[in-house]
Symmetry: none
Subunit: 197 residues, 4 copies
Amino acid sequence: MGEKSIQKKRYILETARKVFMDKGFKTVTMKDIVEACDISRGGLYLYFESTSQIFLEVLKLESEEADDVFSDSITEDATAADILILFLKEQKKELLRKKNTLTQAVYEFYFGNELSKKDNVLKRQFDSAVKIIEKLIEAGVDNGEFYCEDCQGTARNIMFVLEGLKISAQTIGITEATVDREILFILRSLGVEEESE
Amino acid sequence: MGEKSIQKKRYILETARKVFMDKGFKTVTMKDIVEACDISRGGLYLYFESTSQIFLEVLKLESEEADDVFSDSITEDATAADILILFLKEQKKELLRKKNTLTQAVYEFYFGNELSKKDNVLKRQFDSAVKIIEKLIEAGVDNGEFYCEDCQGTARNIMFVLEGLKISAQTIGITEATVDREILFILRSLGVEEESE
Amino acid sequence: MGEKSIQKKRYILETARKVFMDKGFKTVTMKDIVEACDISRGGLYLYFESTSQIFLEVLKLESEEADDVFSDSITEDATAADILILFLKEQKKELLRKKNTLTQAVYEFYFGNELSKKDNVLKRQFDSAVKIIEKLIEAGVDNGEFYCEDCQGTARNIMFVLEGLKISAQTIGITEATVDREILFILRSLGVEEESE
Amino acid sequence: MGEKSIQKKRYILETARKVFMDKGFKTVTMKDIVEACDISRGGLYLYFESTSQIFLEVLKLESEEADDVFSDSITEDATAADILILFLKEQKKELLRKKNTLTQAVYEFYFGNELSKKDNVLKRQFDSAVKIIEKLIEAGVDNGEFYCEDCQGTARNIMFVLEGLKISAQTIGITEATVDREILFILRSLGVEEESE
DNA sequence: CATGAATGAGAGTTCATTCAT
DNA sequence: GATGAATGAACTCTCATTCAT
């Protein structure tokens, strides 16, 4: 595949990404993508053979580009609490961004997609996030910023709460206040009192 | 509509329910339901005019039948902790039941269904559950079973964790151990140490 | 068929008539009529077996009720010109009444309905009208009201013009002025100068 | 759209034209046209989206191809009477051609098609024909071929008679003799005595 | 590579017609 | 007689997928 092909493939993926953000996964058709890309019907099939394949590649691109969620936060002299708060704020921003989010599409894709469980990117991301948060909390505990008896449990709890907020945002709808309250609750349970924003 | 019609309508709803459990919401067609019910094409339209309508009525039936989640738990001499634990166990059972669950369908239905947000059953259920848990925790605090500084915050936290577990169960998949760990974490944070099963 | 049946049949025909006035003939369904009559689906079939049959009976009723077009006009001491003018005015009224007219339905019914040509009511009505107008003109000529060399030809011409106006009213649309102009033209060609309205 | 597409579109329109001649407008379905064209179900939708659209394009094609009704008649040395007679003969031929005519379809299309009244081709054609006939008669009067006091009135009368004949041909049925008689009547009223055929 | 016409399967929906009650 | 549930045929329309150019 030549350079041009790679360019085009990337273009298709980026365009398809927008379509998935708009419509979720299940109801997106090859036609939707063809039209969004303004390419020929047959043309799409030269690069991809199904919406599932396209979606998986969109996700791959996503995770490649996603500078690690924490990478921004972890600066030289940031404290553990700083980093955690920054991370939670990032999550909050993402949560409240109802559109321009692949969340729905991702959920729909993984729903009952037994095959996709093989290399469940979602799971890897979740587990890795838990680990990072755990380390973070441990670091915070070590330098006295946090109080925590079960760092791993707390890390997991935080992630499940975030998942809960994420799905709630897409279904019942949540306000900024709701997210703030949850973040505050998490921080308090770690013994962090002050907050920002 | 005669008695027989009501019977048939109920039959359709129950059959459709299974279809939704199988396929979620978005990809279920009127034809799917027609075939599952083994009735004629036109027959279904005598009762319902869209999958959305059918789904809403399935949900209504569901919530009517669902004796309140707590009703079973609340017996005369049960303590607050007992009731909370029972509730969490119920949720666990539900969570792990990957199939035979409307969870996916419900999520898909509420995804981007702005109109359905009007009377968002989901939201009402969530809010009501938070309130009940809050009361429960307060009762537990009052009689010394629980230790808790922010009952409402804790109740909300519990519900979001449960939501997080629910969506995780349907996407990344979770094990019984995972659920147990979370329940344990919750109970510990309330100062309840021993547990059962 | 009992008295009640006859009543009901008549009721159906009168209601169906309105439906035909609304929708023409070709696109009227048995369902349309059932709904307009607010009777049961099967009920209609007890009396009629098709829209064609219903329409024919509507027409029959129509022509029975239609006191002869001329009957009103022909009073004791009316002159031929009076009667003709009255007739033309009646036709004008009918022409301009775009809705509440069976015109479209009648045309649609007779279009390519080879079978219906057997007893083509329309033709009989047309021919009979020509004859009456002819007699009228002859009478007018006899008493000096009209000037006319070819009474039958003129009568036919009048009827075709009326038909032309009728179909034009339903397709390209015509104004009152247009009809007046045509009537005036006809009367002038008969040597009648003054007019009324 | 390439050359081939244009060919195919034209082919569809020509085939559809036959279907409309056969069945009128209202009862023609996309399926009818698909089958007549022997193309695939979806194929037709690549070119047209409704029978209305197809019909309008058939009419457009029709009027493009129809070298003006008079163009043939108007030769260098033809007299006004010649041209008028030729025109009427053309109309006669058209009138008597019960099948192979779009007349019914056109009428059905314009029946109660309020929207189509915007650019009512029919009306434009009618008005333009009236004007041409008027000019023709005026020319005939000028050179002594015709006698006529109200050229415009006569032109309109002729057109309404032709309309009357046209709709009669499609409903009650008319014979050649009937048409001849009407033509004769018209010509006589213009003072033209001899005729042909 | 790229196009877009073409096909055919399949979903939605409406009705004429029948029939048990 | 009357009802209205039920059926199945017929139509509309949309897409995934292929293929000649």
